[in-house]
């Protein structure tokens, strides 16, 4: 393993992480809810879900964040890694997987680990391991 020091951005990463933690803290302290994006989104897709308005408004805030962001700074430019087929397959897997697994990076990785949930620790280890293995396979086994 070599470290990509040129790409390493410790301060924005820590500050951005702190903001994510602050948002999750606000949501649980004030609304009593978990800021898990896949769970909120999945709940909104169900016919019956409690607290639909609060879930929808959290998601709306998240979706509108770039519009408020551009008032202060330039939006970071995303550098996409795969074509349409990869994007489609990835989206499907993320949709199905997060619902069966009851959470994603935010729900398990941030909120779950913060409340010391063994289920979330297991889920986080599983999706991280699968992520590492997938990138290894795509980049180093099959070339990329």
């Amino acid at each position: 393993m070599t470290i990509d020091w040129a790409g390493f951005t410790p301060w924005p990463a820590l500050a951005g992480g702190a903001l994510i933690g602050l948002a999750a803290a606000l949501f649980v302290l004030l609304n009593g809810r978990i800021a898990g994006i896949s769970g909120l989104l999945g709940g909104l897709l169900e016919r019956h879900t409690e607290g639909r308005a609060e879930k929808a408004l959290f998601v709306l805030g998240l979706v509108l964040a770039p519009l408020a962001w551009v008032l202060f700074a330039q939006l970071p430019e995303p550098d996409f890694q795969v074509g349409w087929l990869g994007t489609l397959v990835a989206g499907l897997l993320v949709g199905i997987g997060t619902r069966y697994g009851s959470g994603c990076t935010s729900g398990h990785g941030v909120c779950g680990l913060s409340r010391l949930s063994p289920r979330s620790l297991a889920a986080t280890l599983a999706f991280m391991a699968a992520g590492f293995a997938t990138v290894f396979a795509l980049r180093h086994l099959f070339g990329g």
Binding site: G16, L62, Y100, A122, V135
Partner: protein, 139 residues
């Protein structure tokens, strides 16, 4: 009031994602690429988030109601089962392929990149498929 705080929390969450680098697939894949030139930044995103959220969640776990009087809607399940692990593995494969997870996908939606639109469309399709299969299982 709780509607307003939900909206503000979502907004702050989005700022955090945009600032942290989580909304850049190249950055995410760079973090997941242990065998290549590894970019450890996203480990610090996790550390920063948990560092801030740990105490509030510790407090919330012991409470019946939130500061605004809402019942604490925290998960109660305890068991580690195949659905949890299998689902999380599938999610991790998808995350590794595209370098996008649900939060950043939504935070990038209004930018209108076709990759984001297609990803969110497919993700919602996957979630709807899950709901349909669950509905079938329970009836």
């Amino acid at each position: 009031m709780r509607k307003l705080t939900a909206f503000v929390a979502g907004l702050v969450f989005g700022f955090g994602l945009l600032l942290s680098g989580m909304a850049d697939p190249a950055k995410v894949v760079g973090f997941l690429d242990l065998a290549g030139s590894w970019d450890p930044s996203l480990a610090l995103v996790m550390a920063g988030a948990i560092g801030v959220a740990l105490l509030p969640f510790t407090w919330a776990r012991r409470r019946e109601r939130s500061l605004l009087g809402a019942p604490m809607a925290l998960p109660r399940k305890r068991e580690l089962d195949g659905r949890l692990i299998g689902g999380s593995l599938l999610f991790g494969v998808g995350w590794g392929i595209a370098g996008i997870c649900p939060g950043p996908a939504l935070a990038l939606l209004v930018t209108g990149y076709w990759q984001v639109l297609l990803f969110v469309f497919a993700m919602l399709g996957g979630m709807a498929l899950f709901s349909a299969l669950e509905h079938r299982r329970n009836h």
